[in-house]
């Protein structure tokens, strides 16, 4: 009995080993190892390619005194403020608008959702054209708010970030809408029927039934957004390049610039580590929020 089960165990271990090894190997080489390497590099003066020397906390000292770094942190926070809540609110609004439709539902859904499917550069190229200072069609709208003058939105420090945020919402809102639709469809019809029998109006129904029952989804969307938007790079890089005069530079772009344009691998790793810690904190918040959401 004993040796036989041991043999079976050994065989299972062997099979399990064969099954997990391919992924685990890649995970170790291309994910775990780079994670530790990032930490190690951040304490060196390494260039992007080639070896460097241990320089203690020099990178971090420099970071604290680098106004562009603080600017990039501030801009990333600003972008998060401009996108997370509005994107969630629009997602919820569109979901509420879509679920009550019947015949035209799939068409309306597609209109809101299709942008999310597109590569970021298709989105930015389209909006660069729509917002072109001379010939962009959106300028007809902007001129109404600017005494008839066009606005070079991506060259204007006041306009650049809000417009990038707006483009981001246009692009990503479909994802949030989809999650909210799933959440709304999961709410039992009986609640609504009981409420309307009691004579509750739509606002009361939303306030006392939809909103509380939807909260776990809302919390999920908010935290997913928070983590995603902290990693902002693509749209900012493609639309403004961080300009004008660093007024829209974000953390990830500073990392990119220091590593790949200024050839400072060590310093860029220190910036990456800061982003890493910020996102880790956000992930922990997400975990806590979602757990309390589920416990309700």
């Amino acid at each position: 009995m004993k040796p036989k089960s041991r043999r079976r165990n050994l065989r299972m271990w062997r099979d399990a080993f064969l099954l997990v090894t391919p992924f685990t190997l890649l995970y170790l080489i291309f994910f775990i190892f780079p994670t530790f390497r990032m930490v190690q590099l951040s304490f060196t003066n390494a260039p992007l390619v080639g070896s460097g020397e241990f320089n203690g906390l020099a990178n971090y000292q420099r970071l604290i005194n680098d106004w562009v770094f603080w600017k990039s942190l501030k801009n990333t926070g600003y972008f998060v403020l401009l996108t997370v809540v509005p994107n969630t609110a629009f997602g919820l609004m569109f979901a509420l608008m879509v679920v009550r439709l019947k015949r035209i539902q799939s068409m309306v859904l597609a209109a809101f959702f299709l942008p999310f499917m597109l590569p970021v550069s298709v989105v930015t190229l389209t909006w660069q054209w729509l917002l072109d200072t001379q010939f962009g069609i959106s300028q007809y709208v902007l001129r109404l708010f600017n005494e008839g003058k066009s606005i070079a939105v991506f060259n204007d420090p006041n306009w650049a970030m809000p417009v990038v945020a707006f483009v981001t919402i246009w692009w990503k809102v479909g994802f949030n809408m989809l999650l909210f639709i799933a959440g709304l469809q999961a709410i039992s019809k009986e609640y609504y029927e009981a409420a309307s029998l009691d004579g509750a109006n739509n606002l009361q129904i939303f306030r006392h039934i939809t909103w509380p029952l939807l909260w776990p989804i809302t919390a999920l969307v908010l935290t997913l957004q928070l983590i995603a938007q902290l990693k902002i790079f693509d749209q900012v890089y493609l639309l403004t390049g961080g300009g004008p005069f660093n007024s829209t530079i974000v953390v990830l772009q500073l990392m990119y610039r220091e590593a790949f344009q200024n050839n400072r691998g060590g310093y860029a790793s220190a910036i990456a580590l800061v982003l890493f810690i910020v996102i880790m904190v956000a992930s922990i918040i997400q975990y806590r929020v979602l757990r309390t959401g589920a416990a309700r």
């Binding site: 391919p22 209109a111 809101f112 499917m117 660069q128 799933a182 790079f233 992930s283």
Partner: protein, 278 residues
């Protein structure tokens, strides 16, 4: 039920507003499409024309034959297919072991996967680039592909689906003398074709749309994927917006078509990767 489907004035106003918002949201894509069908000089008229008049495919011709677009198509399709295939295969194997077998180190592996969610992939760009440079893989297909093979979320999803399969199924197959690989490919995989398709489509779309990593690892136009390539050429095009929009649409068309065909699978895939259902 009858009370909610009755036509009311607020209901009609709501529907009208919904249609208006949907039209507004769709407008940029409409505008990109009609711009791409205009002659270059017609894109710059004031006021702009709402329809291409006359319409022409000239911009598409120039983009297809005078840029590297076809090459980028090939690069994107090829790397996308390789990434999708290996992500699914590797995760399928790993998830099966984690879900069905007990082996030393299993808990550690599982926690390492969960911990990985807290690490933003982009923060690893510098060490990953250095690593691939050491492997002589900068500006190559394997350079684009390798880091994109790491998708622990797919393991977590497969594991959840495998956990839901009755234990007896594997036990009786074992008694019949089947090995783990046969059980996986003859029982567990066929039972989960639905989720496999959903994950495959979402992974492919993700690889197609990936911008940051291909942007970092490729530098010659010959090796770029579509999302990276089209940002390089538009600068050269300058104000030739018909061409730029034709290129943007050609880059977006495959994912839009994929969505329209596989709508349900795409939705399912997005839901499970966001952590809903499953």
């Amino acid at each position: 039920m009858t009370s909610t489907s009755r036509i009311t004035v607020p209901g009609l106003v709501g529907t009208a507003f919904t249609v208006f918002m949907a039209a507004l949201w769709f407008f940029p894509l409409y505008w990109a499409a009609i711009t791409s069908l205009k002659f270059e000089q017609d894109t710059l008229t004031k006021p702009p024309g709402w329809f291409p008049n006359p319409a022409t495919l000239k911009a598409y011709g120039r983009v297809l034959w005078e840029s590297n677009l076809l090459r980028w198509y090939f690069n994107t399709v090829f790397t996308g297919l390789v990434i999708t295939f290996f992500v699914l295969l590797l995760c399928l194997l790993c998830a099966y072991a984690i879900s069905q077998l007990s082996f030393p180190g299993k808990t550690l592996l599982y926690w390492a996967l969960l911990a990985g969610f807290m690490v933003p992939g982009q923060a690893l760009t510098v060490p990953q680039f250095i690593l691939l440079n050491d492997l002589d893989s900068v500006n190559t297909y394997q350079g684009i592909i390798l880091p994109q093979l790491i998708a622990p979320i797919v393991i977590i999803i497969y594991k959840q689906f495998f956990d839901g399969i009755p234990r007896d199924l594997r036990d009786s197959a074992i008694i019949d003398g089947a090995g783990e690989f046969r059980i996986l490919f003859n029982i567990f995989l066929p039972l989960n074709w639905g989720i496999t398709w959903a994950l495959a489509i979402v992974t492919f779309i993700g690889a197609w749309n990936a911008f940051f990593w291909p942007f970092i690892i490729t530098f010659s136009e010959q090796m770029m994927t579509i999302p990276v390539g089209i940002t390089q050429v538009s600068d050269a095009f300058g104000v030739f917006y018909a061409r730029t929009m034709a290129m943007a649409l050609l880059a977006g068309l495959p994912v839009i078509i994929a969505y329209l065909i596989f709508q349900k699978r795409v939705t399912e895939g997005i839901m499970v990767t966001a952590g809903l259902k499953g």
